[in-house]
């Protein structure tokens, strides 16, 4: 008996905030997480994303505001009565219980008979590809397998909302990629609502329906992955969602929602995004910069060239400052000291608030 698809519940936060004495961990914020979607809370350490997650889980009680899960006010309910499950960063598998006992633990806590719980647990283990490992102890499993046990233990309760607290941070890079795809696949198959905390932007881009970028205890920007990557609202989000060159620019004129922008000698038409005529900043993705022969576009000199296998990385000194460039043309490289001219592709360049 494996897990069935169902529709996940909506999570609604209204004015949720958390203070520890004088320290504000989360400033009061509103957030709606639609049922059946995977939303990532992304941000540097100390930004409040984990506190927000723990408040949804019921491990911390909010200082103010209310939390609704599936329309029910759960703000004051303890963790066990919220119909949520949390996958911990450390997995928090009980080391003295077998894998099967771990997975069945929540079911038995909820009052299910031991035998029925064991059957359900076996089904859940099968769903995550661990059929037959129920008798092992957690310490006898590999890191990836432990991760899957943690997921199975959370999923077997068929929670309305599944929470992940940096679930992949203890895995090596290759395994991390695989597990992240598995989590996404599982979420879509079961249709469960997932709130996922991470500080890794590529992980966030890969798994999310929506990403909420947090900074200094508040939401910096929320949106679809491509929104955040291609249209960050400010320098912080641009920088956090992957590499970005922030260059000084000037908005010369605005016409029909398009701004004509001067970046040194380069001129571009960009969505104007509420900026006024005058000095501004642009965030330029490294892959949006084209390297041409000297004399074209922005003049520069290659300061450093790094061979990365699939791509080349360059640091190029220009009148506007150092520009970081990623080029797919591995066959035709530029040596350090070479003079080049830079132009910008249309995509990957965006006006931002400084």
């Amino acid at each position: 008996m494996t897990l069935q698809r169902r529709s996940g519940a909506e999570v609604r936060l209204e004015g949720i905030g958390k203070r520890y004495g004088a320290v504000t961990a989360v400033k009061p914020l509103d957030l709606v997480i639609e049922g059946g979607t995977l939303v990532t809370l992304l941000g540097p350490s100390g930004c409040g994303k984990t506190t927000l997650l723990r408040m949804i889980a019921g491990l911390e009680l909010p200082s103010e505001g209310r939390i609704f899960i599936g329309g029910r006010d759960v703000s004051r309910l303890p963790a066990g009565e919220r119909d949520v499950s949390l996958v911990f960063q450390s997995y928090a598998l009980f080391p003295h219980m077998t894998v099967g006992e771990n997975v069945a633990y929540g079911l038995v806590s909820s009052g299910m008979a031991r035998r029925a719980a064991a059957e359900r647990a076996a089904g859940a283990l099968e769903s995550v590809g661990l059929a037959g490992l129920g008798e092992r102890l957690p310490s006898e499993l590999s890191g990836g397998q432990q991760q899957r046990v943690a997921v199975a233990r959370a999923l077997v309760l068929e929670p309305a909302v599944l929470l992940f607290d940096e679930p992949l941070s203890n895995l090596d890079a290759r395994l991390r990629r695989r597990m992240r795809d598995e989590i996404r696949e599982l979420q879509q198959r079961l249709g469960v609502t997932v709130v996922y905390v991470t500080h890794d932007q590529s992980e966030a881009l890969a798994v999310s329906d929506r990403i909420v970028v947090m900074r200094n205890a508040e939401i910096a920007q929320a949106g679809a992955p491509d929104d955040l990557y291609e249209r960050p609202v400010d320098v912080f989000v641009a920088g956090f969602m992957g590499e970005a060159n922030v260059l000084p620019a000037r908005v010369a004129a605005i016409a029909g929602g398009e701004a004509s922008v001067a970046i040194g000698p380069l001129e571009l038409h960009l969505p104007y995004r509420g900026l006024a005529v005058g000095p501004a900043s642009v965030a330029v993705r490294p892959e949006a910069v084209r390297i041409g022969p000297p004399g074209t576009g922005l003049a520069g000199m290659v300061a450093r060239a790094t061979y990365m296998g699939a791509v080349m990385e360059y640091t190029i000194d220009t009148a506007l400052g150092a520009v970081f460039v990623v080029s797919g043309e591995v066959g035709r490289t530029h040596a350090a000291g070479e003079s080049v001219g830079l132009t910008l592709a249309g995509r990957g360049v965006v006006l931002v608030r400084p």
Partner: protein
């Protein structure tokens, strides 16, 4: 407790107040007799019966509080917060009413003249509370904590609320109250002196603070004696302990394991065994004296009795304690720090002096303070070897048991001792910062411990090895004394002493009588220690769980109060307990209860320490995982925390048992004819110079305790956690005995 209806505790309070006999009964009684007894004898009746049938009006407030709680306990209707408020109010009122009536009416009617003038004369009296009173008090207490939880305190968790309430209440009854009694006793008026004048007179006593020893040959005040002794002992024992610790952790010495065994000694040794050993070596009939006399013809005399002797004995006794603390300190210095120093071209000696030693400094200071406090509180060695050299702990004892029986003086001396101990406690906190008594359980990062610089290693060996040998000799002598007729005079080997202590006489009808002198006290000791051990372990583990896992308003205050409790020297506890529990409302002097209470509160640090150490190795996310998996607090505790704490629990159990058997300082005040403790029996023999039986008995105790400790080492074994080796539980919790 989440699943128990709130009314449960109200019912307990009600049963305690209306059904069970309120006061302590001399003889047991059956439930059927209750009504008959109640009608005839008010002292055998429940509080309600006493109020209704016998006109003991002081119980009406208790019953009124019950009525308030009853409204909160009614099943339907009320919202949670309001119900909580009523339960809390009823519980608190109940506790206050119980306390008020207990303190107002004693064995001679009103306890103070002011009450008599306020309410008119009272032609009645009452004794200490018994079963009914205790049940009612617990009922009221948990009803109040339930109420708090219902109002949202402690995250709404009733189990946590109850546990915190129980701890706070225990501290209040078994520490704060006795300490307040001591304070009051020190201020008690004497003759025509008022409270302040009496206090001032006692405080300025020349026998306490006199400085005559500086200018003349006379002895100084006992406070100075205690301080000087504690400083001397702490300094030497820390130095020796550091040498041992460095040898064990930083050299290739082959007998490391044997050295480590030294750390177990202070736990299994009754506190006067070292003193006995020293007497047998250096006493008037001691081996050394006899040899010196035979060779040179001169008498060494009684030099061992006095400061030197006590100092020597304490250094022998407490070096293992310092050693134990310092092993952790030296091991806590990360090898990578030293490796870093090496790569920065520091020599071994320079690394040791500039990196390792400074990193150890707080730990060394802590070890010093631990020994300082142990020396201050030590009773066994000064009483055996002190002679005319008095220290605070022995002086307190003589003030109580002596012909003078001056409780005011005892209280004053206890206050001085308490002040010293608390000063050390605050220093210790300042030195260790917030890490207080949690063992530093840092993750060891890689790297090998750097061997000691050669010069320092040599010095350490030169100091430590002779001392270790001496320690063995002292123990050997102490034990050998059990097997000769009269030490120093008649060296004929004999088992007489054992026979006298542990004789078993067969009777005519095929049974036998335990006719040995020791059986009675041994039986009492083992029984009481066995009763106290589970209580101690349970409370200690509960406290460690609360302190390390729960966050609530007042947590810091609770932790602080608990640690203060642990800092009170045993002698002070002993004196305060007899002063406090000699009279109603809690009249338990002379019973086994007072000894068990004393053991529990003296030995709880063992449970708390091992619990905290084990808990710090358990990731907090395990609790949280259990909570998000729909488990109640009790289920989390029972299924996740306690199984993982099994080694810590066993450790706490056995060590609280062992320490209850070896303690002497507090219990010497609390024993009675029916409840004689082994250590007190032995010390009385020692004081009378009857060494043979004392040594035989001590040897038997040591064997018993080694067996107990061996049993846990076997029983604890390794936790079943698969490939990863289990984190070794700290088997020997540091510090705090006497």
């Amino acid at each position: 407790m989440r699943h128990v209806a709130p009314a449960w505790w109200w019912v307990a309070a009600a049963v305690g107040a209306t059904v069970l006999p309120w006061h302590m009964q001399q003889a047991g009684l059956g439930l059927g007799d209750l009504r008959a007894f109640a009608a005839a004898d008010p002292d055998a009746a429940s509080a309600a019966a006493q109020a209704v049938l016998h006109g003991r009006f002081w119980f009406w407030p208790v019953l009124a509080a019950l009525a308030v709680g009853a409204v909160g306990s009614l099943p339907p209707g009320l919202a949670r917060p309001r119900r909580g408020a009523l339960l809390f109010a009823g519980g608190v009122l109940g506790l206050l009413a119980v306390a008020a009536q207990g303190f107002a009416v004693g064995i001679a009617g009103w306890t103070t003249p002011r009450l008599a003038s306020l309410f008119g004369p009272l032609d009645d009296r009452q004794f200490g509370i018994g079963l009914g009173g205790c049940v009612a008090v617990l009922g009221f207490l948990f009803q109040a904590t339930d109420g708090l939880a219902l109002r949202g305190a402690f995250k709404g968790d009733r189990f946590t609320a109850g546990a915190v309430g129980l701890l706070a209440f225990s501290i209040l009854v078994f520490t704060v109250w006795p300490m307040a009694t001591i304070l009051a006793e020190a201020f008690a008026g004497r003759g025509d002196l008022g409270p302040l004048a009496a206090f001032a007179e006692r405080a300025a006593d020349r026998k306490v603070w006199g400085m005559e020893c500086v200018s003349s040959g006379r002895s100084c005040g006992v406070a100075w004696n205690s301080l000087a002794l504690a400083i001397a002992t702490a300094t030497l024992a820390t130095l020796l302990g550091l040498c041992f610790a460095l040898i064990v952790t930083r050299t290739g010495f082959r007998a490391k394991r044997a050295l480590r065994l030294l750390t177990v000694l202070p736990i299994i040794t009754p506190p006067f065994v070292i003193g006995l050993g020293l007497i047998l070596i250096f006493g008037r009939a001691g081996v050394v004296n006899q040899i010196v006399e035979a060779v040179t013809g001169s008498q060494l005399g009684r030099w061992i009795y006095g400061f030197q002797g006590v100092w020597l004995a304490q250094v022998f006794s407490f070096t293992p304690t310092a050693f134990l603390v310092l092993i952790g300190v030296v091991e806590g210095v990360s090898p990578t720090m030293e490796e870093a120093a090496h790569t920065l071209r520091a020599s071994r000696l320079r690394t040791f002096l500039t990196v390792s030693l400074p990193l150890m400094r707080p730990g060394i200071a802590n070890a010093w303070l631990v020994v300082f406090v142990e020396s201050l509180a030590d009773f066994g060695n000064p009483i055996v070897l002190g002679g005319s050299f008095g220290v605070l702990s022995t002086e307190i004892f003589f003030a109580v048991v002596g012909a003078q029986a001056d409780f005011g003086r005892a209280a004053m001396l206890a206050l001085v001792l308490l002040a010293f101990a608390l000063a050390a406690f605050f220093l210790q906190r300042a030195v260790l910062g917030r890490r207080s008594y949690v063992a530093v359980a840092g993750k060891g990062d890689g790297g090998l411990a750097t061997p000691l610089p050669r010069g320092i290693a040599r010095a350490a060996f030169a100091v430590a090895i002779p001392w270790a040998i001496l320690t063995i000799v002292v123990y050997a002598m102490a034990l050998a004394g059990a097997f000769v007729k009269v030490w120093g005079r008649d060296w004929t080997p004999t088992l007489d002493h054992f026979r006298r202590a542990f004789d078993v006489t067969p009777t005519a009808d095929g049974g036998f009588i335990l006719s040995g002198l020791a059986w009675n006290s041994l039986g009492t000791t083992v029984t009481l220690a066995a009763i106290a051990a589970p209580v101690t372990a349970a409370l200690g583990i509960l406290a460690s769980w609360i302190l390390s896992r729960q966050r609530f308003a007042g947590r810091f205050a609770l932790e602080f109060a608990l640690m203060l409790t642990f800092a009170v020297p045993g002698t002070v506890i002993g004196v305060s307990y007899i002063l406090t529990y000699n009279v109603p409302p809690l009249e338990i002097t002379g019973t086994g209860v007072i000894l068990v209470a004393c053991f529990v509160f003296r030995n709880m640090p063992v449970g708390v320490r091992s619990g905290m150490a084990a808990m710090s190795q358990l990731d907090r996310s395990l609790d949280e995982a259990s909570a998000t998996l729909r488990a109640s607090t009790t289920r989390t505790l029972a299924r996740v925390i306690l199984p993982l704490l099994k080694p810590a629990i066993l450790t706490a159990l056995v060590y609280s048992f062992v320490r209850a058997m070896t303690t002497v300082s507090a219990v010497i005040f609390l024993v009675s004819a029916q409840h004689e403790m082994a250590t007190v029996f032995i010390i009385n023999r020692v004081i009378n110079g009857d060494y043979g039986v004392s040594i035989a008995y001590s040897a038997a105790l040591i064997v018993l305790m080694v067996a107990a400790i061996g049993v846990i080492h076997l029983a604890v074994g390794r936790r079943r956690l698969g490939r990863r080796a289990a984190a070794p539980a700290p088997l020997v919790p540091a510090g705090g005995r006497v």
